[in-house]
Amino acid sequence: MAYPYRHEKETRVLSEGFGDPAARTVAGWKKYGGYQGIARALEIGREATIEEVKRSGLRGRGGAGFPTGLKWSFMPKDTRRPHYLLCNADESEPGTFKDREIIRWTPHQLIEGCLVGSYAIGASHCYIYLRGEFFESTRVMARALEEAYEEGLVGKDIMGSGVDIDMTLHVGAGAYICGEETGMMNSLEGRRGEPRIKPPFPAAVGAFGMPTTINNVETLAATPHIARHGGEWYRQWGTDKSPGTKLFCVSGHVNKPGNYEFPLGFPLMELIEDVCGGMRDGNAPKAVIPGGSSVPIMSADDCRDCTLCYEGVEAAGSMLGCASVIVMDETADIVKQVRRMAYFYSHESCGQCTPCREGTTWATRILRRIEDGRGTEDDLDTLIEISEQMTGTTICVLSDSLAMPIISSIEKFRDDYLALIRRGERVGAA
């Protein structure tokens, strides 16, 4: 089965095995160089593995872009208390579908990544927290994990090294907030999926009260390659501040949506117009959300010279996030899109913090009223103020994630809002 879309410009490091069912087995994965990364890590030792990852400049692929090697080095050196690695496979950011592909095509790539991560931080147990709705991924992952245990790649004395690393697949119940690292730890422990206040940070007090590191699937999947080839090798791609390759999930009004792997710094317009085959029906682009729904919306103008790396997207006024590029053409109804996002966030808010619990719902109701033609211009000021009140005032950043699209859409697409408001006024007057 051929993977849906491929493009000759791609640089495939993580996605090499996509589309090849054989890559789901240990034997098949070994043909792609599998399990050589963990072998090398075991050979060079813990500290050196962390050093290689530091040298590679790998940044967290879950959205925040925090340097992975640095994160690992926060774990206490003393391993008398159990350490845990928690793999965040609760991929649920709207527009994102990269982790799912890694898991369903190359589960051993993730298992190996988890081994490298666990080994580096001194964890003897790794939890893979998988999103509840990922039924196929769960099946594939469970089978792969079983095989890895049988082959002695996971469990006691892995690959004859004397190192024990157990792995547990934990399937969530399908809550967006459980993708937030501290919410995930609560959920894993059997509590309500509510983010915890920091400090204490997970590296000090994490899952089950023990030092814990939480890494995204794509981050962990990259580490065996880095362990195997070295940090310098990884730096051959990408920019100075954003080294390496990245999966871009492109969705929306393009002709060939899908997962494409490129070095960071790839031009956004080239991705849309060349790689993805241009806009649907030759329409003009209107807006792009470059990093999953939680980042500011970019207008077509903002996209023109934007390069897809952490600093490049930031310069264009948004954030790379998890590189989930949602493309909208001129027919798109921005207000409707933002209202739909607001509904998502209000539905997924855990309800702990007042600004998020009340603010996301209130914003949704206002947006729905505007969409129905019953809005006023004052509503836009209220929306912006609510959004400002939801920024930086809560335990986690869920409400910030809604504030960004609301504020940016009102700034950049105010006319869309005004058209709905004025149409409503005309209807009301008639």
């Binding site: 809550a175 907030i177 309500r192 206040i197 209000s346 539905h347 997924e348 808010s349 855990c350 309800g351 702990q352 913090c353 007042t354 600004p355 998020c356 619990r357 009340e358 603010g359 996301t360 719902t361 209130w362 109701r365 206002i366 009223r369 004052d378 209220t382 103020e385 609510i386 400002e388 009140q389 930086g392 005032t393 809560t394 335990i395």
Partner: protein
């Protein structure tokens, strides 16, 4: 950090331009409190963990990128904190507006109105007019079982109630169900809080009117209630409480913080045990004469006549029945009177006992004790001996047929026959209600309940604790310490005690356990009787 080998245990910081030194590990909220600066808060409660989720206690800390929750941010040396900076005030205004988006604003019919933290903070800092024009979500009312009623629409989701049941009662019967603005507090099972013996506390700690008491529902407005510092008479724990009264009736009891005794809490048994304080059918004027010769008298006449009889008693045997509901001052007066007129042959009291104790696991100092009376330990210290069964009956055979002097205070002799005291040369009955067994009393003297007088109790932990007067006594009822003190004073020739404090000082002179203590030193939160419990 001073590094001179000495561990610094305090930190000095600046809050709103004023310097303050606090112990290490003090939260900014507490540090501000020490300066008299109240940082608004909902989810934080000193008796519970702090989840920092209401987000209204955020303050500006110089150097921090965002506003910091003052309830969980610990004070550090050199910190500069602003609770009234424009960003903090703006955030609070915002949070208050968020709270009102779905709040029904039904203050006119809400029991919490007048003591509601949402009302107070909105009044102080909220917007004059809310901007929400959207329909509000409606949860309605839910019976949580026990004495607790839940109005979901008023809830601010501080989760104090959930945390109280989890952490303090260790009886996790409440939880948050659903998420986002659909989140609501609920019980797990049908029976809800039914049978949970400390659940009434969640009504106290609810900062708004979401959790209200069925017993108190629509009974009184908060601003019409007088608050009187008192001691719970329910058991020998002696929880510090307030009597909330209106129209000379106790409307409800509320716990009063005392970390040595009850923390912020009290049990539901004690909380519900107040109706008797409002009970009619009280003795309202002194009466003299036995049986059919009984007739009302005024105090002047009754005391003069009683004084005469006591003076003439000439060393008769005295048998005394006291009560663990009576104050130390009254019991000491009773014993003193007995000693003054003759030789004390028996000095007893009876007290009901529950079959078991009921501890509060998260605050183990607080236990609903077996002794269901407030001054069992005080009675013991003052020389009274417990007789009778756990039902506070029996044990009075020696007294009932006594042919000398019988003094009864506060025991209604419910189990005794009309022949009680028939053989006595003098039978004095001091009580709050008449009793068939007091038929042979030569003097029936109306005294006040603890709610109608000042006094002190000694609790099971050996703490002497004062209570104040919350109600006006009915008719001519007088405090027992005054009646007894007047008689003793007359017999001794040293005058009548002028106040409960005076009566306490006289007691402290006579009883070593109280030696050296003064009324002022006991204060409103009590003090331990070291000598008595050494």
């Amino acid at each position: 950090m001073p590094d001179n080998g000495r561990k610094a245990d305090t930190v000095t910081l600046t809050i709103d331009g004023r310097e303050v030194t606090v112990p290490k590990g003090t939260s900014l909220l507490h540090a501000a409190e020490g300066l008299g600066v109240e940082v608004p808060h909902y989810c934080y409660h000193p008796g519970l963990s702090a989840p920092a989720q209401c987000r209204i206690c955020l303050v500006e800390v110089e150097g921090a990128p965002k506003l910091q929750p003052s309830c969980v941010t610990m004070a550090e040396d050199g910190q500069v904190v602003h609770t009234e900076s424009p960003s903090a005030v703006r955030m609070r205004k915002g949070v208050l507006e968020f709270y009102l988006v779905n709040h029904p604003l039904d203050c006119p019919i809400c029991d919490m109105s007048g003591e509601c933290m949402l009302q107070d903070y909105v009044f102080e800092e909220g917007r004059e007019k809310g901007r929400s024009r959207e329909p509000k979500r409606v949860f309605g009312r839910d019976d949580f079982g026990g004495d607790v009623l839940f109005y979901g629409d008023r809830c601010v989701m501080c989760t104090r109630c959930v945390r109280f049941m989890d952490e303090v009662a260790r009886d996790p019967r409440l939880t948050v169900v659903e998420r986002g603005s659909r989140a609501v507090i609920d019980t797990f099972f049908e029976h809800g809080l039914e049978g949970a013996s400390y659940a009434g506390n969640i009504v106290d700690i609810c900062p708004v009117g979401a959790l209200v008491s069925k017993d108190f529902l629509h009974k009184a407005r908060a601003w019409d209630l007088d608050h009187t510092e008192s001691i719970c008479p329910g058991c020998s724990q002696g929880c510090n409480i307030e009597l909330h009264t209106r129209d000379n009736l106790v409307q409800r009891l509320k716990p009063r913080e005392n970390q040595e005794v009850n923390g912020h809490w009290m049990c539901d048994y004690g909380r519900a045990n107040y109706e008797w304080m409002n009970h009619p059918g009280r003795l309202e004027e002194p009466e003299v004469g036995r049986g059919n010769d009984r007739r009302p008298a005024d105090w002047q006449e009754a005391l003069a006549s009683l004084f005469q009889r006591l003076s003439d008693a000439g060393g008769a045997g005295v048998r005394i029945v006291g009560s663990p509901l009576a104050s130390n001052e009254a019991l000491a007066g009773l014993a003193a009177l007995g000693g003054e007129v003759g030789s004390i042959e028996a000095c007893v009291f009876r007290s009901p006992r529950a079959p078991d104790e009921d501890p509060l696991p998260g605050f183990p100092t607080l236990v609903r004790r077996r002794d269901l009376a407030p001054n069992v330990d005080g009675a013991g210290i003052l020389g009274f001996e417990r007789v009778g069964g756990d039902d506070a009956a029996g044990g009075l055979r020696e007294v009932a047929g006594h042919d000398g002097i019988i003094l009864v205070l506060g025991d209604e002799l419910r189990d005794q026959s009309e022949d009680f005291g028939a053989a006595a040369s003098l039978f004095v009955y001091l009580g709050t209600a008449d009793s068939p067994a007091a038929r042979n009393a030569d003097f029936v003297l109306p005294v006040t309940t603890f709610a109608e007088e000042e006094g002190s109790f000694v609790n099971v932990l050996g703490r002497v604790q004062r209570f104040r007067q919350g109600l006006q006594a009915p008719g001519y009822a007088r405090p027992a310490w005054l009646v007894l003190g007047a008689l003793v004073g007359a017999l001794r020739g040293d005058g009548t005690p002028a106040s409960a404090a005076d009566a306490f000082e006289r007691m402290a002179e006579a009883h070593a356990a109280f030696a050296g203590l003064t009324w002022e030193a006991i204060g409103t939160s009590g003090t331990r009787l070291e000598a008595a419990h050494a």
